[in-house]
């Protein structure tokens, strides 16, 4: 699974996710990536892309819930992502998420030993990481 979240110079955000699923997946099995609100979400609160054990991200409604916590509870995207990934882990799921807010704040969280991830900004910041 691959994903991207961006905030443009006009303060708008967007998210995208693409995947082959999981090796040996059952015929007809769909995970969270194409489900708007689960593995992919963007509104005026934040943009989210997820990866991992998709069924758990679906059951939690991961992307939509992070945005709702930001909007309704006033949480930062980091705090909201911690809470939602915590729900996923409590159910037995694993995985990770990348998030960006219209403010330009970014966050990534993952419960697995690693997540391929990278970020860049107009200020010249650039990070590529795995573990």
């Amino acid at each position: 699974t691959v994903g991207a979240v961006a905030r443009d110079a006009n303060g708008h955000v967007a998210a995208a996710t693409s995947t082959g699923g999981v090796t040996g997946k059952r015929w007809g099995r769909i995970g969270d990536s194409p489900l708007i609100g689960a593995g992919t979400w963007a509104d005026d609160a934040c943009a989210v892309s997820a990866t991992g054990a998709g069924e758990y991200f679906v059951r939690v409604g991961a992307g939509r819930t992070i945005a709702a916590r930001v909007k309704m509870l006033g949480e930062s995207i980091g705090t909201a992502t911690d809470a939602v990934l915590g729900e996923i882990v409590a159910l037995g799921g694993t995985g990770g998420l990348i998030v960006v807010a219209p403010s330009g704040e970014t966050a990534w969280r993952f419960s697995t030993p690693g997540m391929y991830r990278a970020t860049a900004s107009a200020e010249g910041a650039r990070v590529v990481a795995i573990y």
């Binding site: 699974t1 691959v2 994903g3 991207a4 979240v5 961006a6 905030r7 443009d8 110079a9 303060g11 708008h12 955000v13 967007a14 998210a15 995208a16 996710t17 693409s18 995947t19 082959g20 699923g21 999981v22 090796t23 040996g24 997946k25 059952r26 015929w27 007809g28 099995r29 769909i30 995970g31 990536s33 194409p34 489900l35 708007i36 992919t40 963007a42 509104d43 990866t51 991992g52 995985g95 990770g96 990348i98 219209p102 403010s103 330009g104 990534w108 993952f110 697995t112 690693g114 997540m115 391929y116 991830r117 990278a118 970020t119 900004s121 107009a122 200020e123 650039r126 590529v128 795995i130």
Partner: protein, 173 residues
Amino acid sequence: MSDRTWTLTVHGGSGRFERGIIPAEADAGARAGLGRALDAGSAVLAAGGTAVDAVQAAIEVLEDDPHFNAGRGAALSGEGRIELDAAIMDGRAREAGSVAQVTTPRHPIALARAVMDEGTHVMLAGPGAEAFAAARGVEAADAGWFELPERRRQLEELLARGNDAFDVDMKYG
């Protein structure tokens, strides 16, 4: 953040690694792919482009990169097929496009974007999504483009061990 600033973040999957580490070539290849995705999306944003165009540009790079489980290099299903899913969403007006179980678009994210731009539906799946792709002239690729021998080996190993299909991306990433 100043008015003219922008930011882009990408991921290439999460999971555990066989024996705890990634082989050096896979590590270097993945890092290079992530860097190319950053370059493609950042070029859009630095030119004043939209966030939705930037995320599509970044994802298309990763869909073409065999180090990642999407597009070329995707995982194989239990039947040995490659069935791809993708979604895109624009926070401005909550426009969204999504496709599931498609087998022909070289860039599934481009098909999801076409669904979003056409505006009638949010999600199309299977043969209907394929027909939409053909009607919209979304670039197609044959199965040979997507499948890697390593992915076939991983499927055969998984099935031989009788493991269930549920596997976090990077174990066979």
